[in-house]
C-alpha cells in the first residue's frame, strides 16, 4: 500500500476543493487533494456556467447576493480568461407582473449588486430574440464561466504552489483515533481507482469539500449533517440565441434563466430534492418544462435543436430545514466538527455556489489555520491564476485563430473547433482515463453531432500516441508534465500547433498579481514555498513519486499499458457517455443526427463487434442512461 503524509487532505476536486488546495498551498501548508473521478466530475462540471452578479438572490437571500457580487469582482481578475463578460438582464415578462421588480431594485441597492434599469428598446436592440412583450429590463454584471478551464487553472496555480492533486482517488474511509469525546481524524483510506491500488494518506486536517456528497463523508466519522442534494436539470440549445445572460425578474423558479456559454445557450434549471447525488434521472417532463419556460424569455427557442440535457446537484445545507429545495439557503456552510461533534482534525465545507468558491476556500483555510497554527494570510483574492493575463474569453477566438493560421485541415472536432494538436497536448500532459476527461479539457464532442465524428478520430489519435510510446519509458517526461503543461492555452488552436504544445512560447506570467496592489505574499512563481510535499511512507523517495510533479492522473507508468487504455474501451465509453446526455432530448433533427452516429459506429465501423467488449472502466456503468419506468411522468 502506498502511503502519503501531508498536513491538509482535501476531499473533493470541484471548484471548492481545488480552491482550498490553492489557498492552503499559497499559505505554506502541505496539501494533498483527492477526487474520486476527474476534476469537476461532480457539481462544478455540471452547472449552467453562470458567474452570478448576485441578482438572483437580492430578495430571497441577501447575504448570498452580497457574497456573489464581491466574488464576481474578484474572479473577473483572478480567472479572467475563464470568464466571458456577457452582462446580464433581469426581464419582466407578461407573466411576471406584480411587486417583485421594485423589490428587486431595492434589493440590489441593499446588497450592493450593481443594477441599472434600461429601456426595453435598448434591451431588444442588444438581444433581438428576446420576448418583445417584456415590460421592464434591469442590467446586472452577470457573466458566464468555463468551470472546467477555471478548475484546471486553479489546480495549476495550486500545483505551482506545491499542492498535490490526485484524481481518480476515491475516499474509502476516514482514519480516526481516540475514544468518545476525544476523537481525532488523522487521515484517510483511499482507493486509486485507475490502478486498483489502496493508498493511505495521513494528515493533520481533513477537509471535506465534497459538496452534495458531504453528508456521506461525515457519516464515515459517525456524524450526520443535513446536506440535501438538490437536482437541477439543464438543457443546451444548439443556438446560442443570446449574448447576454437573461433571467426572469421574479422569485427564482424552474427554467427562469438562459445562459449563453461558449457555443450554446443553456436553459436552467429544475430544483428537486433527491436522495442520491450520483445517479440522476432526467425525466421527459423536466426537459419539456425547461423548453416551455425558455420560450417565455425567447419565443420559439424550443423549436431550435437541443444538443444535450444533463443534471447537476446543488449541495443544500440547512440545519433543521425540511422545506422545498428551492427555498433552502444558497449560503455556504462551514462546519468545525471539533466544536460541533468533538472530532478534531475534521472540517466540512458545503453549500454555496461556483461564484463563491474562492471565498468558501478562504474561510475554510482560515478555520484550518486556526487549528494548525496560522501561516501566511490569504492572498487568493489578489493572485491571478495562470492565463488570466489573456483577458476575458470571447466566443470567436477559436475560429479566428484557425482561420488566421489556416488550421482547417487539423480539425478533428469540427463542431467545437478542436485541432489534433490541442487534443494531443491535452492527452499528453493530462493523461486520461476516458475520453470524457479530454472533452472537459478541449470541448471534444460537445457540439451538435455529440461525438459522431470526433470519437473515432480521438480514439485513433490516442492509440497512435500510445503506440509511439508517448506515455511510456521517459520518466523525465512524466516528471515535468505538470510543470510544462500550461492550461492557460489549452483551448487555443494557435497555441497548439503540430504537437509542439504551448511549452516553448509560454509567456512568463504564472500567478502574477492582479489589480493595482503590489504582490506581497506568495502567489507568484518566484516566491512560492519550496516545499517538497508528500513524503512517501516506507519507500525511498524516487523521482517519479514526487507528488507535485507527478501529474494528477495515475495510470501511465513506464513500460505499462494499462488495460484502461484500451482503444476499444475508450471508444465504447465515450459513445455511451455522449448517449447518456442526448437520449433525453432525442427528437426531430437531433434524432436524425443520432441515427447517423449509429450508421457510422454500428454499421460502417461495426464497433459493437470489436474485441475486448467485456472490458469496463471505472466510469462504464455511470454512463448508462437510466430508463427504468417511473410512475412520476408528470410534474409532481
Amino acid at each position: 500500500m502506498k502511503r502519503i503524509e501531508t498536513e491538509i487532505l482535501v476531499v473533493g476536486g470541484g471548484a471548492t476543493g481545488t480552491g482550498i488546495a490553492w489557498d492552503a498551498a499559497l499559505r505554506g501548508f502541505k496539501v494533498t487533494l483527492i477526487e474520486k473521478r476527474d476534476l469537476t466530475h461532480g457539481t462544478t462540471g455540471r452547472y449552467h456556467g453562470l458567474l452570478h452578479s448576485g441578482g438572483r438572490y437580492v430578495v430571497k437571500d441577501p447575504v448570498s447576493a452580497t457574497e456573489c457580487i464581491h466574488e464576481n469582482r474578484i474572479l473577473r481578475k483572478t480567472h479572467a480568461h475563464c470568464i466571458e463578460n456577457t452582462s446580464g438582464f433581469f426581464a419582466v415578462t407578461p407573466e411576471d407582473e406584480g411587486p417583485y421588480p421594485d423589490k428587486f431594485l431595492e434589493g440590489c441597492r441593499a446588497t450592493g449588486v450593481d443594477c441599472a434599469e434600461i429601456s426595453v428598446a435598448d434591451a431588444l436592440r442588444r438581444e433581438p430574440l428576446l420576448n418583445p412583450r417584456i415590460s421592464r429590463v434591469f442590467e446586472v454584471p452577470d457573466g458566464t464561466a468555463d468551470s472546467f478551464l477555471a478548475t484546471h487553472a486553479t489546480v495549476q496555480a495550486a500545483r505551482h504552489a506545491g499542492a498535490q492533486i490526485l484524481t481518480y482517488h476515491e475516499l474509502m474511509g476516514l482514519i480516526i483515533e481516540g475514544g468518545d469525546g476525544n476523537r481525532r481524524v488523522v487521515g484517510a483510506k483511499v482507493r486509486d481507482v485507475a490502478k486498483g491500488m489502496d493508498v493511505e494518506i495521513r494528515a493533520q486536517m481533513v477537509i471535506n469539500a465534497t459538496g452534495a456528497w458531504a453528508g456521506m463523508v461525515t457519516q464515515m466519522a459517525g456524524v450526520a449533517i443535513s446536506v440535501v442534494p438538490g437536482k437541477g436539470v439543464m438543457v443546451a440549445m444548439n443556438h446560442r440565441a443570446l449574448n447576454t445572460v437573461v433571467n426572469r425578474c421574479k422569485m427564482p423558479a424552474d427554467g427562469d434563466i438562459i445562459v449563453p456559454v461558449h457555443t450554446v445557450a443553456i436553459i436552467g434549471t429544475t430544483d428537486e430534492r433527491v436522495t442520491d447525488p450520483e445517479n440522476l434521472r432526467i425525466e421527459p417532463w423536466e426537459v419539456n418544462l425547461m423548453l416551455e419556460e425558455g420560450d417565455k424569455l425567447v419565443p420559439n427557442l424550443s423549436k431550435a435543436r437541443v444538443v444535450r440535457a444533463w443534471a447537476g446537484v446543488r449541495p443544500l445545507y440547512q440545519e433543521d430545514y425540511a422545506g422545498a429545495s428551492r427555498d433552502a439557503t444558497r449560503k455556504f456552510a462551514l462546519l468545525d466538527h471539533k466544536e460541533r461533534h468533538g472530532i478534531d482534525g475534521f472540517i466540512t465545507i458545503t453549500g454555496g455556489k461556483w461564484t463563491t468558491f474562492r471565498l468558501m476556500a478562504e474561510k475554510t483555510v482560515d478555520l484550518a489555520a486556526s487549528h494548525l497554527g496560522a501561516r501566511k494570510p490569504c492572498v487568493t483574492a489578489t493572485t491571478a491564476v495562470p492565463g488570466a493575463d489573456q483577458g476575458n474569453y470571447w466566443l470567436g477566438h477559436r475560429l479566428h485563430e484557425i482561420e488566421e493560421q489556416k488550421l482547417q485541415g487539423q480539425l478533428i472536432c469540427e463542431c467545437e473547433l478542436v485541432t489534433r494538436a490541442m487534443l494531443e497536448n491535452a492527452a499528453k500532459q493530462n493523461p486520461l482515463l476516458t475520453l470524457d476527461d479530454l472533452r472537459r479539457d478541449v470541448r471534444l464532442g460537445m457540439g451538435p453531432c455529440q461525438g459522431g465524428f470526433c470519437t473515432y478520430r480521438a480514439v485513433g489519435i490516442i492509440h497512435e500516441m500510445g503506440k509511439a510510446g508517448v506515455w511510456e519509458g521517459d520518466a523525465g517526461h512524466q516528471t515535468h508534465a505538470a510543470e510544462e503543461w500550461d492550461v492557460a492555452y489549452i483551448q487555443s488552436p494557435a497555441r497548439n500547433v503540430n504537437g509542439s504544445g504551448s511549452v516553448g512560447d509560454r509567456p512568463q506570467q504564472q500567478g502574477g498579481s492582479v489589480g493595482d496592489r503590489p504582490q506581497q505574499q506568495g502567489g507568484s512563481v518566484g516566491d512560492r514555498p519550496q516545499q517538497q510535499g508528500g513524503s512517501v511512507g516506507d519507500r525511498p523517495q524516487q523521482q517519479g513519486d514526487r507528488p507535485q510533479q507527478q501529474g494528477d492522473r495515475p495510470q501511465q507508468r513506464a513500460g505499462q499499458t494499462p488495460p484502461l487504455f484500451n482503444p476499444n474501451l475508450l471508444l465504447r465509453d465515450f459513445l455511451q457517455e455522449r448517449w447518456k446526455g442526448v437520449a433525453p432530448i432525442l427528437w426531430g433533427r437531433q434524432l436524425k443526427q443520432e441515427r447517423l452516429d449509429e450508421l457510422i459506429y454500428l454499421n460502417v465501423m461495426n464497433a459493437d463487434h470489436l474485441p475486448d467488449d467485456q472490458l469496463a472502466s471505472a466510469m462504464t456503468d455511470f454512463y448508462l442512461f437510466d430508463t427504468t419506468p417511473n410512475e412520476h411522468e408528470v410534474h409532481p
Binding site: 485541415g409 449509429e598 465501423m605 461495426n606 411522468e633
Partner: protein, 438 residues
C-alpha cells in the same frame, strides 16, 4: 404528368426508378438532399446479424432471411420472400457490371445467380472490426478475411479519418496477421483543408496514383495485400484501382471510413448516370412536404398530388399515376418528431408502428444489442410494398413505399441497409409496373 413519382433518391428510390423506367414508365425523382449512400460503406449488406443472433455475423444471409419467416413475419424480407430478394440482388449486380462499377460476393463476381448458398464477406472496418457484407464493389473484395494473405494497412500521416494502427491491432487481436504503415499525405494533396472526396479526386490523376503505387510497392512485403482508406479515385476509380494494384504489385483494397463516403458517391453517381440516360429526371432540392389525398372510405383512397417545397420557389404540385415514398426513416428525414413524443411520416402522414411516447424509444446503452425501439418501426406495408393500416388494408391504391421508411427492421443494426433498399425498391418498382399495366 409522369407515371411514377419517386420521393427520395437513396438506393431504394433509385432502384425503383430504374426498374420502372426500364419497363417503359415515365419516372420523376425528387429529393430534398442526397441519400444515405453518401454516408454508408458502399457495400450491399443484406443481413449481417439477425435479431436472434446479434453477436455472431450471419454466414448465409439468404438462408437467414428464410429463417426469419416465423419469428419476424412483419420483416420486409419476409413479406417479399428470399427468392425475390435474390432476384433483386441479381438485377442490381447485373446493373452495376453494366455501369462499370462491378459488385461481387464471397464467390467472386456472378456467383450469385440461382444460388442461395452465398456466404457473407467479412471485411475489415475502419476500427478493425469485421463487417459482414453480402456484396462489395471490386475495390473492397480483396479485404475479405476469408482470404489467406497477411494485411498491410496503409494510412496517411495527418489524415484525420483513418487510423491504420488501430485497424491492424484489432485485426491482430482477432487472430489475423496485420501490420500498419504510414505514407505522407503530401503524396495526395498539398491542400490545407481537405476531406476524403478531395483526396479521392486527387487520385483521379494518373501521375499521383502511379507515385502512390510506387510507394506502396516499397512498403509491401511479398505476399501481403494492402488496405487503404476508401479514397482511390472518384470519377476515374476503375483505372485508379487497376493502376495502383499494378504499380504496387499487390492486391489492394479500400476500407470505408467516416462520411462523406467515396464508395457511396461512386454508387450514387453510377446509378444517376444510368437513370439520366433513360430520361429519368432527378430534382435535388425538392422536399416532399405534403400530399392531397382522397381518404380511404371503406376501400383504398387515392393520392391526388404531392406537394414539394424548395428554398427558391413557391410550393409545387406533382401529379402522377403512381407515387413511391422512398424518403428513408429517421435517418433519411422521412420521419420527423417533437419533444412531446409525436413522430410522423412527413409527406403522406402515414401511420407508423413507432410508439408515440418518447420514454419508450430508447434503451440504456447506445450499443444495446437489442437496438432502440424507435429505430425498428416505420411504415407497415403488404407484400406488394403498399402502405397498409392497422387492419392490413391498403391505404391508397396508387401509393407504394420502400427502403428505410419500412417497419419491421432496424437495417443499421442488422446490417441490411442496402439489401433492404435494393429488394424493396425493386419489388415496389415491379409492383408499380404491374399495377399501371392493368
Amino acid at each position: 404528368m409522369s407515371d411514377l413519382f419517386v420521393i427520395g433518391a437513396g438506393l431504394s428510390g433509385l432502384m425503383a426508378a430504374y426498374t420502372a423506367a426500364r419497363a417503359g414508365l415515365r419516372v420523376q425523382v425528387v429529393t430534398k438532399g442526397l441519400g444515405s449512400m453518401h454516408w454508408a460503406a458502399g457495400t450491399v449488406d443484406v443481413m449481417g446479424y439477425t435479431p436472434e443472433e446479434l453477436s455472431r455475423p450471419v454466414q448465409r444471409p439468404l438462408e437467414a432471411i428464410q429463417a426469419l419467416a416465423h419469428s419476424h413475419p412483419e420483416h420486409p424480407y419476409v413479406l417479399l420472400g428470399s427468392h425475390q430478394v435474390q432476384v433483386a440482388l441479381e438485377e442490381f449486380t447485373a446493373l452495376m457490371a453494366e455501369l462499370g462499377l462491378p459488385y461481387g460476393g464471397a464467390g467472386g463476381f456472378g456467383a450469385l445467380a440461382h444460388s442461395t448458398s452465398g456466404d457473407n464477406l467479412l471485411l475489415p472496418s475502419a476500427v478493425g472490426a469485421l463487417r459482414p457484407a453480402f456484396l462489395a464493389p471490386s475495390a473492397q473484395l480483396a479485404g475479405d478475411m476469408a482470404r489467406p494473405e497477411p494485411l498491410l494497412i496503409v494510412g496517411f500521416t495527418g489524415l484525420r479519418d483513418f487510423y491504420p494502427e488501430l485497424i491492424a491491432e484489432n485485426l491482430a487481436k482477432q487472430g489475423f496477421q496485420a501490420r500498419a504503415a504510414f505514407l505522407p499525405l503530401s503524396l495526395l494533396t498539398e491542400q490545407a483543408d481537405r476531406n476524403n472526396v478531395h483526396l479521392a479526386q486527387a487520385l483521379d490523376l494518373q501521375a499521383r496514383r502511379l507515385k502512390l503505387g510506387g510507394e506502396l510497392k516499397r512498403l509491401a512485403r511479398a505476399g501481403e495485400r494492402i488496405g487503404l482508406p476508401a479514397l482511390l479515385g472518384l470519377d476515374d476509380h476503375a483505372a485508379a484501382l487497376a493502376d495502383l494494384s499494378a504499380a504496387a504489385g499487390a492486391p489492394i483494397f479500400e476500407i470505408p471510413t467516416l462520411p462523406p463516403s467515396v464508395p457511396g458517391m461512386r454508387l450514387y453517381k453510377a446509378l444517376r448516370a444510368r437513370l439520366w440516360r433513360m430520361g429519368v429526371r432527378i430534382d435535388v432540392g425538392l422536399e416532399g412536404i405534403g400530399a392531397n389525398v382522397i381518404a380511404a372510405n371503406g376501400t383504398a383512397g387515392r393520392v391526388q398530388w404531392v406537394e414539394t417545397a424548395t428554398t427558391t420557389s413557391r410550393p409545387l404540385k406533382h401529379r402522377a399515376k403512381a407515387y413511391l415514398l422512398a424518403t428513408g426513416g429517421i435517418l433519411g428525414g422521412g420521419f420527423d418528431s417533437d419533444h412531446t413524443g409525436r413522430i410522423w411520416e412527413t409527406v403522406f402522414d402515414l401511420p407508423l408502428t413507432i410508439p408515440q411516447a418518447r420514454h419508450q424509444w430508447f434503451r440504456p446503452a447506445f450499443m444495446d444489442p437489442a437496438g432502440h425501439p424507435v429505430f425498428n418501426g416505420g411504415v407497415a406495408v403488404n407484400a406488394a410494398m403498399q402502405p397498409v393500416g392497422a387492419d392490413g388494408q391498403v391505404l391508397y391504391a396508387n401509393l407504394w413505399a420502400a427502403g428505410g421508411a419500412l417497419a419491421g427492421a432496424d437495417p443499421i443494426q442488422q446490417h441490411s441497409l442496402e439489401g433492404l433498399a435494393i429488394a424493396t425498391g425493386w419489388a415496389a418498382g415491379q409492383a408499380i409496373v404491374r399495377a399501371l399495366a392493368q
